[in-house]
């Protein structure tokens, strides 16, 4: 029996390995020219030191998976059990949706700035981050802030602008966001926050309040769009990714289909029964392995069993600061439990009487104790 995996990222790799390990024939269709590689260094160590995709490849446990790289799935028929790459038709018994997300662009006039998602994006950006270059980062989420920190370390002049009032405010809350902003400012980054971009220019941007910012390089890091277009026409729920159940089986179809990684929207009973899409690096591995089991069961005519309660985990390196997060801080209210907002600290995120997330700044080891309390209700 043949399984097709669409998307040759981390989630696709883990699902492919799980299914190959169960004896299925596995073909992976991926639009990037590269075998799966690790993305987080693209805004951190690699962007600083030089991007070499060879050094970022994941180790692979099977040499008999059929990799079709540089080929984008353009369509899919679940009724016919086939994926299309332009005119070519690839039949399957089981399907893994692993096509991830792409960076969003702001719907404003002017030339579209570059973004950072792939190794090729990082290579192009790296070439332009020479000492003295004026960089304008649009978006103050994790990727925007990491690029800002790396660019400062490369000797660029850096300005960050965002609609949000503080950097990383949604995942971290206002207090820790403000503290991170102060760290960046101490390293020479300037901020224009709480105002949107009205227009892009070749040499910068105009903000909604009329401020004109000039820069040699602009980079846009304002969130993501799930890569679902190739699934259209199958009556799936594609509002914000692909809706799946707790065991990653895609909802709304009888075909054996699972979704993994950044594109999957599924409930996690560790927290509640609300399906959510979470872009954290550890989840493609967790969902890939679990979805592999689920699809294997379906293809063997068994009912998938179990309870999937992954712990979302995130980290971010900015200057000498190591942030680590467990759970879903974005769903709770921040409470400082150790240290100072402005320095090394541990912050819990509370919803009702439940601790739903924890973030540590330079507190890796202490954080481990807090991890076990999260979402245990």
């Amino acid at each position: 029996m043949t399984v097709i995996v669409v998307g040759a990222g981390l989630g696709g790799l883990r699902a492919a390995e799980s299914l190959r390990g169960q004896g299925f024939e596995v073909m992976v269709i991926g639009d990037e020219p590269h075998l799966p590689y690790n993305r987080p260094p693209l805004s951190k160590e690699s962007l600083k030191g030089g991007v070499e995709v060879e050094g970022l490849h994941f180790r692979r446990k099977h040499d008999d998976i059929d990799w079709r790289l540089g080929a984008a799935a353009t369509g899919c028929s679940l009724d016919q059990r086939a994926v299309y790459v332009d005119d070519a038709k690839y039949p399957f018994e089981g399907l893994v949706i692993a096509s991830g997300i792409r960076p969003r662009h702001l719907p404003v006039p002017g030339p579209q700035p570059p973004v950072l998602r792939t190794a090729d994006d990082a290579l192009r950006l790296r070439e332009r981050l020479t000492p003295g270059t004026r960089l304008l980062v649009v978006g103050a989420g994790f990727i925007g802030c990491e690029v800002a920190a790396t660019a400062r370390q490369l000797g660029c002049e850096v300005m960050v602008t965002a609609f949000d009032a503080e950097p990383m405010i949604r995942p971290l809350g206002a207090e820790l966001g403000a503290a991170m902003k102060a760290h960046h400012e101490a390293h020479g980054v300037e901020f224009r926050l709480g105002v949107g971009v009205a227009e892009f220019h070749e040499d910068g941007a105009t903000l909604a309040d009329g401020t004109r910012l000039t820069a040699d390089v602009v980079i846009e890091a304002v969130g993501s769009v799930p890569n679902v277009e190739w699934l259209h026409g199958n009556d799936l729920d594609l509002t914000d990714g692909v809706l799946a159940d707790n065991l990653l089986q895609v909802a709304g179809t009888d075909a054996p289909v699972v979704a993994v990684g950044d594109i999957a929207r599924y409930p996690n009973p560790r927290f509640d029964d609300v399906p959510r899409r979470i872009e954290h690096w550890n989840l493609p591995t967790e969902t890939g392995k679990r979805a592999g089991q689920t699809l294997g069961s379906l293809l063997r005519g068994e009912i998938p069993e179990g309870d999937f309660r992954p712990m979302p985990a995130f980290w971010s390196d900015q200057y000498d600061l190591g942030l680590q997060s467990y759970g879903q801080p974005a769903l709770g209210t921040a409470v400082l439990v150790d240290g100072e907002w402005s320095g090394d600290c541990i912050v819990e995120y509370v919803r009702g009487d439940e601790v739903i997330g924890v973030v540590g700044v330079n507190r890796t080891k202490d954080l481990m104790r807090y991890r076990q309390d999260i979402g245990s209700a």
Binding site: N38, R59, N282, T285, W315
Partner: protein
């Protein structure tokens, strides 16, 4: 099986310690310590640890 962690890559995040707690641990200074050689019965745990390492710093040899 033999385990090597590339200490130039390792950022001491400790993700490996959750998957294979008897093999990997953070010491009092928060630095990673690990066993270089373990029984094959731990293979699944060690594989899982290598998979979850954000820096992909863990290498395994038979």
């Amino acid at each position: 099986m033999k385990i090597t962690v590339d200490m130039d890559k390792c950022q001491h995040y400790g993700q490996c310690t959750f998957e294979a707690p008897t093999v990997f641990a953070l010491n009092d200074d928060g630095k990673l310590e690990y066993q270089g050689e373990v029984d094959d019965s731990l293979a699944d745990q060690v594989e899982a640890a290598a998979d979850v390492c954000p820096m992909q710093a863990i290498e395994i040899a038979p």
